[in-house]
Subunit: 720 residues, 2 copies
């Protein structure tokens, strides 16, 4: 575990490349450091200036003559490595490298980055950046971002991009949100994203973590760390590069690849990270997470003086996976006296125009909702705060009174309340009271619902994370798998024979249908007669991965003659392709059932990833597959089976019997375990797996040691 | 065609139920009428007050003694009908009924509504409302909404909800958007939604039409009218009630049902209506549509001083169906000098921190993009306008200069430019210049992209609408269909025999596989021998709609014996259910192909609707079906085939030959025509239709005259 505390609470800071030229990156950051209230020693380094900002400047850091804890480097690319070397010599625990134009622009820059890391590694100094915007640490009054002074508070930010930091701090400022730590990670060649998140997770001043990610590094560790952090603190994230053009922009920007967004989505889900898509939206949500009591569930009551606003909000709510339950009759009874005769009190609740003249009615209705066990949070929508403008001036006092009552209700019942009003951004006292007391007031209905949704999702995710149990399988025959793999490696092969793949899976307890290798037609016939049912025959050869393509598969062989003829035919065709034929595998035809695909690949950013899908068109046309990063939690495996669009085919439609979903989960757990135990395995394809009412038949198993290709895609060429 | 001009430009206005009690609906509206600058005569009616607002008040409208053009009615529900009666007597061309608590609350109120209509029908007076918020007409300085004075401009609004009007006018006000007409339609018992839209389409002062709809009335006419209007003017719409809770809210509010959202979505697409989901978003988009030049296509260049913002915007763009094309090499060459060495000029374009110090660089890059034929519009994202705060104060002048240059570029090239900046809502001169000149400045990246997307979508829709050709089929045997239907009606049946359904379709030119009705086993055998291929046998009986359920279908009969046995079996089983057996239909087994479903239902709100889907799990599990309101345009039919998720199965995957998509479109066109020509047909199910490489086989055809049930759902009971 890293101790980034030294970086965020340094005793002294030096700026190599300090400058006074207005508008320059180094000037802005030198100034924000000096003016930000930092209490430790500051050393400004510039070989050409004896003084900067009316302070002594040093020609080099080595002339400071004292240990320096943290060094910010803002020099041209070719000078960075020696600046880092000097910093390390002076005992720096960390270097924050602002300089851009390194790894993100090409090979030349990557070489410089390697030098930087080499220098830093001499003492284990932390490298922040390069190509970053700096850091902010409220606990040290340390502002290396070059932005105006920031309010202190519970929000911490981790972004790769530098410029987004400028937007982020500005949004925070105009909303009055305080920050604990802000980190611009830039190219993140030294300290990795997950290390920052771990640090923020442990930072007692951080209550909400906001991340803006472009590329993902070491996604496996990111998931691991975030899983722990989200047991206590919410992580919200804007992950750019979802689309082709977005990825193009991200790549040119931080030199990092965006990654397959389907995997990113799955990983975030696993990690309990809440994904958002706008910077301003992130602040709406952050504010909500910082200020609102955590709800127990996702059931929301919606109230308005206007039915139109109610229906808009209800639509948003259901789309955001919130429930808008019909209230209990007892609650409805209590609400009805406040409504126009004939208006339903079911939820959403339309208290109509009378509330505009007498807003106290809102308090009464919200009170009933807060008391109802079936309601986890409340949304008011419409134009509260503006009644005074639209109805009559004297209503202003009543609105203020109502705001105070609403604040009390939230305190008393500890359920979140969010207010959408078209007057949200105006200087209105009743709304100020709400905001001051942590009740979000939002100008957009969809955004308001989004905030409540994020809050409720976090509450549910947090519980799930706390209860999380990682999937783990005990291997029956511990060394069997390694023996098999050793043999493959000894043979300089990159793929297992199907017989080997079957043996390996069997060692992990996967129930496989019987199958026997025949090396002669008479052996094939004997196996058929022993099995005593229609069989399939498949070529087994290290050189043949796509068996069907070479005529290596024959199905539904129902007589001895058919089996013998098929054996001959398969052998003859295979002989045209290779001399290395292990035999022909004879196995019973699988009983009918639902065709599925189960697989594993090692993904560039996230490491091993397991995959599930229904076969055929579901995978090929609809891309209806689910992924999880390894190791999956037990609930992840459950989720990945349930989230596919064709899930109903497993639970039984049109009078079909439900399929054995448990056996699918068991096999997925095994595949994950195989990936963990055997890092040399690059890809596993069980395709198809026929799932029956009870049990499943793994009809074809392929295990590869070669480099990653997409599941179902072209097989890798054997290393030669 | 209605002449609502009289309502929106009346010579005199009376208010029945005028009041001075602060905050009351009638007080607000009387005041907004008086203070709104209306130039005609105003008559305030109140039996208890000789004077109101320092004017003479009349006890009843009949005592006014002169003709009154328009009457606003704000009295209790039980007095409304007589108020309308009196108004009509006084020559009113229209009545605007604010009173709520009528049809939306139940039967009692519906009776009052019927009386209102009866009274109005004596002279053909227009009824606006009831349960509405009033109207606004800039051309007459007429404000019956009870809201503060409104700016005049090119935006017109049609909403069912009253309260949403209050939000809408407020949003308009804070953004400085001017209105032409505002209409709160309320329960819309008199003038219908589509009549308002037609009126606004013809209103020369209206340039953008904004609608907020809860329920849809007469959706067929809505589509018809909107199709014409959107050839010139954009219609943007927030249609609430998408979800269950949303529909619940909408229903309790305007007494109107929300309708099946899938159909609404299809209808809006057909009508060229742009659907949005937030009130504030509607104003962003309206502003863009009012002020920006119309682009030729959907290709956008994205520029920023920050790569992070670029990737966020690019993600939004692709999700909003905008293209972010790689710029032509010639354009890239022109841009490169303005970028950091090594940064790609492909698009999105990251002009980096140097632009923050020298914003003129933005002009240069935007200029290149505007000149590029491959670019239809430009998005700037980041924090322009805030450079002065973040970089240095002296940059302010440069930002102002840049804004002026950008305004000139838009004028010169007539391509839209939208600016996203985190400083959008702040009082910054450079941003004011943009806004003043019609360049939208938006605080949210997603919202900014949404505006551009709406603009580009409208440009494309408008072109499509202008080129629209309605699908029309010439009937081969003109009277055949009606003869068949007459026979069914004469028999007091509600469903056609399959033989009749086949004959009817054949009359419209649908190519059907041969099929012959056998009434004896020997006839069945003879038909089989004549066809000389494997056949299917199906019961034909007016009493049996679900043939398989009674054992009335046998497939793949390949010998004379099989056919005979099947005939006997089918007949015997059918005899247990009914005495009315027309025979057994013998037809060749369809060749292999892609199974499809084609259908038509009469939908409650939109009238006849045609449907297309692939068969089996695509319909049953994935609900992968498309709809269009009848009559569809030729491009609609094309769209409904292409938009299904499984479309690839028709174009050919895994080496399969492409299927005959044209024949699907032909059959869809026929089904639409049948619905137009034969209003007594309530439902058509062609299921399955097997589509081949060339041609298709309509394997089963069901045509019903009974009331609507969902396609594929339970059959209606025959009327008895």
């Amino acid at each position: 575990m890293s101790d980034l505390n030294k970086v965020f609470n340094p005793g002294s800071v030096a700026v190599i490349g300090a400058s006074e030229t207005s508008g320059k990156a180094s000037e802005r950051r030198s100034r924000s450091l000096i003016e930000g209230g930092y209490r430790g020693e500051i050393y400004l380094i510039n070989p050409n200036r004896p003084q900067l900002f009316s302070r002594k400047a040093y020609p080099t850091i080595t002339e400071v003559g004292k240990e320096v804890d943290l060094v910010m480097v803002v020099v041209s690319p070719k000078l960075v490595a020696s600046a880092v070397a000097d910093s390390v010599k002076m005992g720096a625990k960390g270097v924050v490298i602002i300089t851009a134009g390194l790894g993100e622009t090409g090979e030349e820059g990557k070489k410089v980055e390697a030098e930087i890391l080499k220098e830093a590694s001499r003492t284990g100094a932390y490298v922040i950046g390069p190509n970053c915007s700096g850091i902010f640490s409220a606990s040290a009054d340390l502002n290396l971002l070059g932005v105006p002074p920031l309010k202190k508070g519970g929000l911490s930010v981790l972004a790769q991009s530098g410029n987004v930091i400028d937007s982020l701090t500005h949004y925070g400022q105009i909303r009055g949100i305080g920050f604990s730590k802000i980190i611009s990670a830039g190219n993140a060649i030294g300290v990795k994203l997950h290390e920052y998140i771990e640090f923020l997770g442990n930072d007692p001043d951080t209550h909400v973590i906001m991340t803006f990610l472009e590329g993902i590094q070491d996604g496996n560790n990111l998931v691991k760390v975030a899983r722990e952090v989200t047991k206590e603190k919410p992580i919200i994230s804007l992950k750019a590069g979802r689309t082709k053009a977005g990825a193009r922009a991200a790549a040119s920007h931080t030199g990092s690849l965006a990654g397959d967004d389907v995997i990113v989505e799955a990983a975030f889900k696993q990690a309990g990270i809440i994904r958002l898509s706008n910077v301003d939206e992130m602040f709406d949500v952050a504010e909500t997470l910082l200020n609102c009591p955590l709800p127990r569930g996702n059931r929301v009551a919606i109230l308005s003086e206007g039915g139109g606003d109610n229906s808009i909000a209800a639509d948003h709510a259901e789309r955001c996976e919130l429930e808008v339950p019909v209230l209990a009759e007892s609650s409805q009874e209590k609400i009805r006296p406040f409504l126009l005769a004939g208006m339903p009190a079911s939820n959403p609740i339309d208290y109509g125009g009378t509330a505009e003249e007498n807003p106290h009615m809102i308090t009464e209705c919200v009170n009933v909702c807060m008391q109802d066990d079936q309601v986890d949070g409340v949304l008011i929508t419409g134009f509260f705060g503006g009644f005074k403008d639209i109805i009559a001036a004297h209503v202003e006092d009543l609105e203020i009174q109502t705001s105070n009552e609403l604040v009390d209700l939230v305190k008393k019942h500890q359920k979140p309340l969010i207010v959408h009003t078209s007057f949200a951004n105006e200087p209105i006292e009743s709304l100020r009271i709400l905001k001051r007391n942590g009740i979000p007031v939002v100008a957009s209905s969809g955004r308001a619902v989004g905030c409540l949704s994020a809050l409720m999702k976090f509450a549910l995710k947090r519980r799930k994370m706390k209860e999380m149990k990682l999937s783990a399988i005990e291997v029956k025959e511990k060394n069997k798998a390694q023996q098999i793999l050793q043999k493959v490696k000894d043979d300089k092969r990159t793929n297992l024979l199907e017989t080997e793949a079957r043996d390996l899976l069997a060692a992990y307890g996967v129930p496989l249908p019987p199958a026997h290798l025949a090396t002669s037609r008479s052996e094939a016939a004997a196996i058929y007669e022993q099995l005593n049912c229609p069989v399939a025959a498949k070529i087994v050869s290290a050189d043949i991965i796509h068996k069907s393509d070479v005529g290596g598969v024959r199905l539904n062989l129902g007589t001895r003659n058919e089996v013998e003829a098929a054996f001959d035919d398969i052998w003859r065709k295979a002989s045209k392709v290779t001399q290395h034929i292990a035999g022909v595998l004879i196995s019973p035809m699988a009983a009918k059932g639902q065709e599925c695909i189960i697989g594993m690949v090692r993904e560039r950013m996230f490491g091993p990833v397991i995959m599930f899908g229904l076969g055929g068109i579901f995978v090929e046309v609809l891309e209806d597959v689910s992924f999880r990063v390894v190791p999956p939690a037990v609930h992840d495996i459950d989720g990945m089976v349930k989230e596919i669009r064709g899930y109903q085919l497993l639970t039984g439609i049109r009078g079909e019997k439900p399929k054995d979903v448990d056996v699918i989960k068991d096999i997925l757990a095994v595949v994950a375990q195989v990936a963990i135990d055997n890092p040399e395995i690059q890809q596993i394809d069980l395709n198809p797996v026929i799932v029956h009412k009870k049990g499943a038949s793994v009809v074809d198993a392929r295990i590869l040691l070669a480099e990653y290709r997409s599941i179902g895609g072209e097989a890798p060429k054997p290393a030669s």
